[in-house]
């Protein structure tokens, strides 16, 4: 065998590199992380807009945790705009991606309110760059505008004083009007993210003033201990201060129309679901997420009706004794219809590799069973469906749902 050069061990290699590398020698410096982007077959990989769009979608698909990617998009966009303002200030897709990335970068500056506002403000200015009014009405620019407004309200609009309340509500309504579900498949994910943001905002409005936010993973703590006891430093849930809502506060104004806003959000999601094809990149996953959110919105709508019905049906409260049987039946009918719709969307959202989606479906079956005639064949069948799903999920998630299952089997 011929003489071959031989490497040294990992530790010695590192020491050697340290010893040998002169301070000014950059040759040993680790290379900047390289990212390989896959563009669609019919697209030009050299096209700057294609590259920016791909980077933006890579950021969204990657769990939205890379500010490096966002900085890459922002820096590249800034450079392109500086070098050829005439060309890029008239390109709505370029401006939309630039603004979306910049606004998203604001999310990484939670501890620097000034910088956060600056990013969002600059992002809004970008959307007004086209001189012609028609150009400013481009659907992608309008989508970006909606996203930034929802985000702005979520981050700092709800804390505004009453004098700004009308303005915040007007901004919200403006963002609703500006929003439309795009036909342009590469921006379906951005459309979903915008609706998700609107949903988050409405959820905050709904929970505002309640003593506690729902802790993450609460499904695991499945018993019914008083959540009020879980206050203080021991509870990692974000404790929201109990406040009485001033009727002129932005939150109160938004809360008044909450059901309508939630219904709008749900309808837009349904529209988006119709436009997204399972064949497109990330299509199945996106459809799952859309349907999951629609299902949650139906369940949210059903919840007060179900609660009222169960109270009238099973509690011995004297106040409930006079309840009209027809009204009780109507309550049940409405709650059943909404829960049924929720179930159909949770079925569409089922991911064969994600037990959490099976559990969500199982829990909606339990809700459905609770509305059905007690101890009826129909109810038993519904509970059995829930039990099967929970058992399957418990195996797949290494006993994570043991307590939920035990509660069901009671």
């Amino acid at each position: 065998m011929g003489k071959r050069s031989r490497p040294v061990g990992l530790s010695k290699n590192k020491k050697k590199a340290k010893t040998n590398a002169p301070a000014e020698d950059k040759s040993e410096a680790p290379a900047a992380p390289q990212l390989t982007l896959l563009v669609a077959e019919d697209e030009d990989p050299e096209d700057e807009i294609v590259q920016l769009r791909t980077l933006w979608n890579t950021y969204l698909q990657g769990g939205k945790d890379s500010d490096t990617l966002l900085n890459g998009i922002v820096n590249e966009s800034d450079s392109l705009l500086s070098n050829d303002r005439e060309k890029y200030a008239a390109n709505s897709e370029f401006l939309a991606v630039f603004a979306l990335a910049l606004s998203e970068l604001a999310m990484f500056c939670a501890d620097d309110a000034e910088r956060m506002e600056k990013y969002m403000g600059t992002a809004m200015e970008l959307l007004d760059l086209p001189e012609a009014r028609d150009a400013r009405e481009d659907p992608l620019l309008k989508l970006a505008r909606s996203k930034i407004v929802f985000q702005r309200i979520l981050l700092n609009g709800l804390q505004q004083e009453e004098s700004a309340a009308e303005d915040v509500v007007a901004q919200f309504m403006g963002a609703r009007e500006s929003f439309s579900v795009t036909d342009h498949a590469p921006y379906h994910l951005s459309t979903f993210e915008t609706l998700n943001l609107a949903h988050d905002l409405l959820e905050v409005v709904e929970n505002y003033g309640k003593p506690f936010a729902v802790p993450d993973n609460e499904e695991v703590d499945s018993d019914n201990d008083s959540e009020a006891e879980e206050n203080g430093a021991d509870d990692a849930a974000v404790a929201v201060e109990m406040v009485s809502l001033d009727k002129s506060s932005p939150v109160h104004k938004l809360k008044q129309e909450l059901p309508a806003h939630m219904a709008w959000c749900r309808d837009q999601l349904a529209l988006l679901d119709n436009r997204v094809s399972k064949e497109q990149a990330e299509g199945p996953k996106l459809k799952n997420n859309i349907n999951r959110l629609i299902g949650e919105l139906y369940l949210r709508e059903a919840d007060p009706l179900s609660t009222k019905f169960l109270s009238l049906q099973y509690n011995d409260d004297e106040d409930d004794a006079d309840a009209d049987a027809a009204a009780v039946n109507q309550l049940r009918k409405d709650a059943l219809a909404l829960t049924d719709k929720a179930i159909s969307h949770f079925i569409a959202a089922e991911d064969p590799e994600d037990p959490a989606t099976w559990v969500q479906l199982a829990e909606s079956y339990i809700d459905l069973g609770n509305l059905q005639d007690n101890e009826s064949v129909e109810q038993e069948a519904t509970y059995t469906k829930a039990e099967k799903l929970l058992r399957k999920a418990n195996v797949a998630a290494h006993n994570k749902y043991e307590d939920v299952l035990n509660n069901l089997l009671g």
């Binding site: 490497p7 061990g9 695991v220 201990d225 430093a233």
Partner: protein, 558 residues
């Protein structure tokens, strides 16, 4: 000892009568003491005890408030733990009495109470452990929140005589078993060898004081992972052997104790360590190292085709020579990867994961003892088990055989320029909520001649589900330099602290699908696989390879 502070506490005052009243009266009751002493003497798996409602609850509530308002906690992670420790107040004993008294008066008072003559006598009596030091104090605060844990160990470090934990979790909310965060105690097979499954479990409760006698080779315990978003705050510490000038001081006792705990019976440890790895000798290689057409065909049955072309092999070789390490993705070809992905996912989603040693069915076994490592491994060689091999087991065993085959050794030679003498492989599964491999150095094969002072290690990671990139659910494989040899579970200088010093980490590789790496590992490089969180979507699956290498270099390149 790094943590204890004799000087600061040497001036400590004995608690006043008022202080004594801060304890629950039962502590001073003779019958209670006697009963507790009997309970501890009979306790299993080793001598431990527990006092409920130890202190006056409003006083303890003030201690808690003081800690949460004044002490900064930092998340710290090593091979053995992940928890929130106090920063510069990590060891309360590092503060002088005056400083502690002015900044944290109730914490200071608590320390005085715990190390008071009366309370030390109580602990000494009920545990029958002999006298305890009042000047060598050792106290710290920890918060275990979601994903935090402390793996199996026996607390035997230096002059520790009794370990204790005072729980400060929410007094108004009962901590439940399924939150995790429980103190678990392990019995032993024999001295120094803990069993894998716990035999006792203690749920945290406000004002509960748990303690046990530090018994070298026996007092094995852990803190199970906290599974949900709740915080478990505690003060924990140790009582030590009396110091010079104290009642009960015996000259040379501490030195003798420390010497005795350092004596590890290597042979016994080896006897009780599983798996036993018997490396196979690589067949003598022919003069030509070139891959033949038949070799390429065999390699192509497993490896993606682009890794087999000449340019790629040369490029990998250059990378390995420069870095002593290569890491590639999509290593197995699509067909092989597809079959394995389907089978592993199917196993994860449809087969009940064993959670106790007795539930583990052949051909799988449990790597143990748990103060060293814990994971499932495939027993490939046991022919009597052949009928018990599932389709997945057969595929994994086949993969393992391939990596030990002659064509693959030639591939390794092409990529690394090194000559393997032996090769061993192990199919491993690290279960969420259970498994890990603590940091250890590698051993050279002393039975071989002309063996290189490094080993080559390979890992084919076959973890089919995502969610590992941020390391928050563990399961990553980490190589690091062992510059600091001293290690105990809370040592600030512990070499395995992740992220403490970027310079000490050589490789940090999250679990992933179909990635392969090769590392030329020096003897002093530590490696561990981080405990896989209960929250991980699936187990970490991998195939671990190790080669002893021929020292065929005339010139030492160092």
């Amino acid at each position: 000892m790094k943590r204890s502070n004799v000087g600061a506490a040497a001036t400590s005052k004995k608690p006043s009568i008022t202080d004594r009243k801060l304890f629950n009266d039962k502590v001073w009751d003779t019958q209670f003491t006697k009963d507790l002493q009997n309970t501890i003497a009979d306790s299993k798996p080793f001598q431990w005890g527990c006092v409920q409602d130890l202190l006056e609850p409003t006083f303890l509530a003030k201690v808690k408030t003081e800690i949460l308002q004044n002490i900064h906690f930092t998340l710290k992670e090593t091979d053995i733990y992940k928890l929130n420790q106090t920063g510069d107040l990590a060891n309360l004993s590092k503060l002088g009495s005056d400083e502690l008294q002015s900044k944290l008066p109730h914490v200071w008072q608590l320390r005085q109470l715990i190390y008071s003559d009366e309370f030390r006598n109580f602990i000494s009596t009920v545990t029958q452990c002999g006298p305890l030091s009042g000047v060598k104090t050792d106290l710290s605060c920890h918060i275990y929140d979601k994903h935090c844990h402390l793996l199996n160990h026996d607390d035997v470090v230096g002059s520790r005589r009794v370990s204790f934990i005072l729980y400060l979790n929410d007094p108004h909310h009962q901590w439940k078993d399924h939150y995790g965060g429980n103190l678990r105690l392990f019995d032993t097979v024999t001295k120094d060898i803990p069993l894998s499954d716990p035999v006792a479990k203690l749920l945290p409760k406000f004002n509960q004081y748990a303690f046990f006698k530090v018994q070298p080779g026996y007092s094995f315990h852990d803190v199970e992972e906290v599974r949900i978003n709740k915080k478990r705050l505690s003060i924990q510490g140790w009582f030590h052997i009396p110091q010079n000038g104290e009642v009960g001081y015996n000259k040379g006792e501490e030195e003798k104790w420390c010497k005795s705990i350092c004596q590890i019976d290597e042979k016994k440890l080896k006897d009780y360590t599983f798996p036993k790895r018997a490396p196979a000798t690589v067949q003598p290689l022919s003069d030509s190292l070139d891959l033949t057409e038949e070799d390429i065909r065999i390699l192509g049955e497993f490896i993606a085709p682009h890794f087999l072309n000449k340019d790629k092999l040369e490029s990998l070789r250059d990378q390995f020579l420069n870095n002593s390490y290569i890491s590639v993705v999509d290593f197995l070809n699509d067909a092989k990867a597809g079959v394995l992905s389907k089978l592993i996912k199917d196993n994860e989603l449809n087969v009940q994961m064993p959670t106790k040693q007795t539930e583990i069915a052949q051909p799988w076994d449990l790597a143990r003892p748990p103060h060293q490592w814990q994971f499932l491994y495939l027993e490939e060689k046991n022919n009597t088990n052949a009928s018990k091999f599932t389709h997945l087991d057969k595929e994994l065993a086949g993969l393992s055989s391939f990596f030990k085959s002659l064509p693959f050794q030639k591939f390794v030679i092409k990529v690394t320029g090194l000559t393997p003498l032996t090769v061993s492989s192990l199919v491993r599964r690290f279960r969420p909520g259970f498994d890990y491999m603590l940091a250890d150095k590698t051993e050279l094969n002393k039975a071989l001649e002309n063996v290189m002072d490094c080993v080559l290690e390979g890992t084919l990671c076959l973890t089919p589900m995502d969610g590992w990139d941020t390391n928050s659910v563990g399961g990553y494989e980490l190589y690091m330099t062992a510059e600091n040899e001293e290690k105990n579970e809370w040592n600030d200088e512990d070499p395995t602290v992740v992220g403490r010093d970027g310079d000490s980490t050589l490789i940090n590789k999250p679990a992933s699908w179909n990635s392969f790496n090769l590392v030329l590992r020096d003897q002093d490089v530590l490696e561990f696989v981080k405990y896989v969180s209960w929250d991980a979507k699936c187990s970490r699956w991998d195939l671990k390879l190790k080669w002893d290498l021929l020292d065929d270099d005339d010139d030492d390149e160092e």
